[in-house]
């Protein structure tokens, strides 16, 4: 079996589905001849032509609106926004139209579309290229929001997103695009939507994260294992809808939970998950639910970004403090 990095996985999924579904198009800025600023769409123009691989003018609001118009005609529109920090102009279209047409027409008009964008920092990119927009979208009724953490999930979840009959926001882990490879079949198999994944079983603490932060979280779990702390790793993957059942089941077992997110702390997915625990898992909790997150500041420019993004040390510190407050085996 061949191995692929995350950007290759996305490129493969797009190729596979463009082959399988004649009614699919991709659109966005510089996605054709240029193959996308991160090369996610390389090869599509040559394989499928300019009619289905659409280089758009420089207007994110237009891209979202055009994807909506296309999708209402039964065309599976997969739009790329170059960085999630440039998605704000799409919000009116996504919230007031993409997420609503099915409901307001009672099923007559639907929007089977996907809007993809690299999300998060850590690559020393320019200003506005390193933001985390999970909450911006996850709070919107009528949407699905996915945040894959590795190549095989990027592949399987992107296929699922494209095939889903409703609008999906697909936030890709920028700094993992080329960070590591995984072995998987390019067989067009989609992964299930609306579900979290248990990446590692553990007994003492449930470590929850998604997207690029799964990477640091896994390293933290490795380090903690050496200290005798066994962490169960949950990759949320789907931020909307959120699979609380999987998280609750894990915490019912471990009694402790630390949630890791890159986004600013206030109003992030970590808060939504902690609230779910406070409501449905309270009696299982031995210790406070800690959130390791970015700060409630603007994402700093490149020279300071590593002081904003949670690192292994901050994650381990939080887990140790949870263990201190509720020692193992008590």
């Amino acid at each position: 079996m061949a191995t692929f990095n995350t950007i290759e996985a996305i490129n493969l999924a797009l190729h596979f589905e463009m082959r399988r579904d004649e009614a699919m198009v991709v659109l966005g800025e510089d996605i054709g001849r240029n193959g996308g600023v991160f090369r996610a769409t390389v090869g599509l123009l040559d394989s499928f032509g300019a009619e289905r691989v659409i280089d758009t003018p420089l207007a994110e609001n237009l891209i979202a609106a055009m994807a909506i118009g296309l999708s209402t005609q039964g065309i599976r529109a997969v739009a790329e926004i170059q960085f999630s920090g440039f998605m704000y102009p799409c919000l009116d279209q996504i919230t007031n139209h993409a997420a609503r047409y099915r409901n307001r027409t009672r099923g007559r008009i639907t929007c089977p579309l996907v809007i993809r964008a690299p999300n998060g920092g850590g690559i020393h990119a320019p200003e506005h290229h390193s933001e985390s927009l999970e909450t911006t979208f996850a709070q919107i009724p009528g949407l699905r929001v996915l945040a894959p953490s590795n190549p095989s999930r990027a592949y399987g979840l992107l296929l699922a997103a494209i095939r889903d009959p409703d609008p999906v926001i697909f936030l890709e882990p920028t700094r993992c695009y080329r960070l590591f490879k995984q072995e998987f079949e390019d067989d067009g198999q989609a992964l299930p939507l609306d579900s979290a994944f248990i990446d590692r079983d553990g007994d003492h603490v449930t470590l929850v994260s998604w997207g690029a932060m799964m990477h640091e979280t896994r390293f933290a779990a490795d380090q903690l294992a050496e200290e005798g702390i066994s962490c169960e790793l949950v990759d949320v993957a789907s931020l909307k809808p959120l699979d609380m059942d999987t998280i609750l089941a894990s915490v019912a077992k471990t009694g402790r939970c630390v949630i890791v997110q890159e986004a600013p702390r206030a109003y992030g997915p970590a808060s939504e998950i902690a609230a779910g625990l406070a409501e449905h898992g309270l009696l299982n909790l031995f210790a406070p639910v800690l959130r390791v997150s970015g700060y409630d500041t603007v994402m700093p420019l490149a020279r300071l970004e590593q002081h904003f993004i949670p690192d292994v040390e901050r994650i381990c510190k939080a887990v140790r403090s949870v263990i201190e407050q509720a020692p193992i085996g008590n």
Binding site: N61, A65, M66, G69, Q73, A77, N96, T105, R108, P241
Partner: protein
């Protein structure tokens, strides 16, 4: 030649905006009528459609005033545009309407009672009936102008499918101030899409007069920003409006690309029933505008060419009132939707994790 006027200053592009009008405010012909308008039945049909729409509009306002309808946006005075549009479009075309285009929607199969049901606050009203052109049309969008760029995607899909259909994106003068309007205009010709942008310039955006809405002398000239033809038409002259729209639709259908049509009209009613226009415009201005009323104009024109008389008029008015009454009855007979309906068209399949919310609403009962 002075040094400040170099000979090296050369003209690289030029444009002009034309306005079309066949029938003046008093019903006098300014030019020979186009073929369709030389047929008395056609004129009478256009007249009837406008009168029916106005009667329903009047009924809607009175229902709102008596607490039987929510906030309502009247189309009073703009009936010619919707009528011309509805008659100019082919069934297979796609209408992305503005909220005063009732006549066009009715002509395409939206039941008038659904229009009332919408303003009462019932989503089912936007599920336009199968077997009518409206079934592939869009409901209008309350967020001003945001629907216009949808036309780019719809028209692109039509081109991709090699269909001979045209998309009409309609909006008001105020809507042309929003980036959404422009982004569609600016890009439409990049793909030479079959789109007709129709702007009903009724001189007001709630309390904002047209001249303060933009520095542009005409809305039509904004077409230059997209490199497409832009023209004005007297939107209270149903003949001219239909003529210009048929020409634009034919051009788009024949692959000549997008066009912008600015139809000049006037909003005779308050912005909506929640508004009181006396706060910001004079009675005098409104009285003057009534003189340009499209219904009065076509009637005068028909009488001048002897295809209308008092008898026909009396009969039609009675008919329209009766029709409006039955529309109101049909509307009032509609029972409210079930509360759980708020879950049932949100996604194709409601996510498992939301089931408990639906159950909660279910258990609280379906009363309204």
């Amino acid at each position: 030649m002075t040094t400040s006027e170099p000979s090296a200053e050369t003209v690289v592009a030029s444009f002009e905006v034309r306005r079309t009008c066949f029938v003046d405010a008093d019903g006098r012909l300014l030019a020979e009528l186009p073929a369709f308008a030389r047929d008395a039945e056609q004129l009478q049909r256009m007249y009837r459609v406008m009168c029916e729409a106005r009667a329903i509009d009047k009924k809607a306002v009175s229902l709102q005033r008596t607490g039987k309808l929510g906030t309502y946006a009247s189309g009073l005075g703009q009936e010619a545009i919707g009528t011309a549009l509805g008659l100019a479009m082919a069934d297979e075309d796609v209408l992305i309407p503005a909220y005063r285009d009732y006549a066009a929607q009715f002509l395409r199969g939206v039941p008038p009672e659904s229009a009332l049901q919408y303003w009462a606050g019932d989503e089912r009203s936007m599920n336009f009936p199968q077997g009518t052109p409206s079934h592939h049309d869009f409901p209008f969008s309350v967020p001003i102008a945001t629907h216009i760029p949808h036309a780019i995607g719809v028209a692109y899909a039509i081109k991709l499918k090699k269909q001979q259909r045209v998309v009409v994106a309609a909006c008001g003068d105020g809507a042309t101030s929003k980036g959404d309007f422009y982004e569609a205009l600016s890009s439409a010709k990049v793909w030479n899409l079959p789109v007709v942008f129709l702007v009903s310039n009724n001189q007001w955006a709630i309390s904002m007069p047209r001249e303060n809405q933009t520095g542009a002398q005409t809305i039509a000239q904004k077409a230059a920003a997209g490199g497409i033809p832009g023209e004005q038409v007297d939107g209270n002259d149903v003949i001219a409006t239909r003529f210009v729209l048929e020409r634009a639709l034919k051009a788009a259908r024949d692959g000549e690309g997008p066009r912008l049509v600015e139809a000049l009209t006037y909003r005779l009613h308050d912005h909506t029933t929640a508004d009181d226009a006396r706060r910001y415009r004079s009675e005098e201005e409104v009285n003057q505008a009534w003189k340009r009323c499209p219904i009065k104009r076509l009637q005068a024109c028909m009488r001048a060419i002897d295809c209308w008389d008092d008898e026909k008029e009396t009969a039609l008015i009675a008919q329209c009132q009766k029709n409006a009454e039955s529309v109101a009855e049909a509307y009032l007979a509609i029972a409210p939707d079930k509360p759980v309906a708020m879950f049932d068209s949100l996604y194709e399949t409601l996510p498992e994790s939301m089931q408990w919310q639906r159950n909660e609403v279910c258990e609280r009962g379906d009363g309204d």
